[in-house]
Symmetry: C2
Subunit: 367 residues, 2 copies
């Protein structure tokens, strides 16, 4: 299943931005298409919080990827034209070094001894991969959600490493509202007695905490409007146990229950905690001596596409507008796409009819 | 402290809407002002989910009430003019019969043997109180949030019992988004091992579940915009323990922690579960053979004021607009006040400068 997955094993230490150094870091990635002789056609994809590097199917792994409709021959991110790399974020669990990995210095999993993870560390992981592939400069770096933040960190840390960027449903920083929601998700996991201060065993993970956190995520990733259209006040088809006065009444409750159950077991709880907090801690202004506009002014990119969705609760459209305004003031060629998708923050995974042309046109116009 | 509290003890059974009958029901309430000789100047207030009947201070209880700035001599709900009654909802814990009360038939607390609670049952509790006070018809019935739903149930069940109504940040029904949030809050409590299927003891309540549920409530009661203005990315002043990588980083996290801790212990978890679910189950269309407009057409009120807040996440302004449109079609004299308060669903407790004149003017114009 992960036959398309490649690994970069670093032979040098990986210093973490907020302190601590990782040894023998491993980074998982997948690629599609061919690198041009001048090595100038590479597109690097950073992911949201939970996906793996398997953005799309390939000859080595025919299972559909998380962005299957976006990446492929003739698709918006056209693998006939581009050499596409998708990386599994540092700290995530699909092949890259994470809190669930064995610390080579102790022979035990890192768990909470993993250093604080930042979005910048994830960006540096991507940089290591493209350097190992002998790519000096990307054509474009692109990412949604956490990935939309990571492309900003990438452009700030490695200003010569990309000519263009696409930030989707990302932001220069998290709002207090979003921080509060993520903080509460983390607390749900940490307050689950099974969490055991991160020392849970593999067959006794904090299932209830993860399930609650996932449900809150799902509620906030979408929009109230979409759910009204999809669910209305439909009653659940599952039987409501008569002795359980707080069982499932509504279809929306059954939907959340089913999807949360699927997620649990696929993602390591400690890794989730680290990645979630990384999103809270990120502030692009840190790269401009406290000034966001200064940080954006230091970007060396030629063209940028900023995509936002009007129904996004977590990264509201004003935040993408802020990026657009800052890059415009810095005289960068920047386009803002305000999409009216119904699916909120998750739209980039779902509303392909709106996202494909915006991304496809941007990349084609740069040809 | 509860010296102003009065009690109505019913000497007849109280049939619950979804089945079951309560015996020896008690309803707590407070009153302000004097009933006119013709008994036509009474205003009944239904509360949101968590407050007691202590809406305002009085000679008997000088502690400030939850709507202190709204109710009193010369205030918007003018106790020089009106005889004001505020009721503690059936199912709530401040003097009214609730799941925490002793079931007279068993001598044990009801806990989960309490029948399903509906908004209509709460409305009927209010009706019992005004009948006991020999009031045939209210001047106005008013309530915010859950109370904003309860006034609708009241007007549907007892069409001759009020001439006017004011529904604040209420709705004819809950959206799937809001149901999902409430369902998750209930699950947080129910998944706390201390909940014990509702059989927790008084000194070992599900504190963690209540704290999480309250935090989610607080996040959604307000608006992202308000928090951005209030908190920005301010770091918490409390020291972050170096051995706790998931402690409090931001002021918003400290704020939620402090407020959630205050709430826990003040409210019985089972009562919270019942009241929360009552809000999910309510659908005004049930009173119009499945048609909301028919239900509203059957109201016999003369004048209505519907108040909504543009930043309300839980009862979005479209829901108040829906009530306004339905009452307008039914040829009722109805006014819609769309307030641009920043404080979201909670605005009626906070943004007095906007709420007072709207409510005060409406009541004065009916004089």
């Amino acid at each position: 299943m992960a036959a398309a997955r490649q690994y970069l094993k670093l032979d040098h230490p990986f210093p973490m931005r907020r302190g601590g150094v990782l040894q023998q870091v491993q980074l998982a990635y997948e690629t599609w298409g061919a690198l041009s002789p001048t090595r100038d056609n590479a597109v690097l994809i950073f992911t949201g919080l939970s996906p793996s590097a398997h953005a799309a199917s390939s000859a080595q792994d025919c299972s559909p990827g998380w962005w299957e409709d976006m990446v492929g021959p003739g698709r918006a991110i056209d693998t006939n034209r581009f050499f596409v790399v998708c990386i599994n974020s540092l700290g995530s669990v699909f092949g890259s070094t994470s809190p669930a990995s064995i610390n080579p210095q102790t022979g035990e999993p890192y768990r909470l001894s993993f250093p604080i993870l930042t979005v910048e560390d994830i960006a540096r992981g991507g940089y290591e991969v493209i350097r190992s592939l002998k790519i000096n400069q990307l054509h474009t770096v692109i990412g949604p959600s956490l990935g939309g933040m990571t492309v900003l960190a990438f452009a700030a840390l490695f200003p010569d490493a990309t000519r263009n960027l696409i930030s989707i449903s990302g932001a220069a920083r998290s709002t207090p509202f979003t921080i509060a929601l993520r903080s509460l998700q983390r607390e749900m996991i940490r307050k689950d007695p099974a969490w055991q201060e991160g020392k849970y065993s593999a067959n006794a993970i904090p299932v209830e905490g993860m399930r609650l956190a996932r449900k809150l995520g799902m509620i906030t990733y979408r929009s109230a409007k979409e759910w009204l259209q999809r669910f209305g006040r439909e009653r659940a088809s599952v039987e409501h146990k008569p002795d359980d006065p707080f069982g499932i009444d509504f279809e929306i409750e059954a939907y959340l229950e089913n999807h949360a159950a699927k997620f649990v077991g696929q993602f390591d709880p400690n890794a989730y905690l680290y990645l979630s907090r990384a999103m809270d801690l990120f502030d692009l202004a840190d790269h401009g001596e406290g000034s966001l506009s200064e940080a954006l002014r230091r970007f060396k990119i030629k063209n940028a596409l900023i995509i936002g969705v009007e129904t996004d609760l977590l990264f509201p459209i004003e935040q993408q507008k802020e990026l657009f305004d800052g890059l415009t003031s810095a005289d960068r060629n920047v386009k803002l796409a305000r999409l009216n998708s119904l699916q909120g923050h998750d739209s980039f995974l779902v509303d392909m009819d709106q996202f494909r042309p915006v991304i496809g046109d941007f990349l084609r116009e740069l040809a």
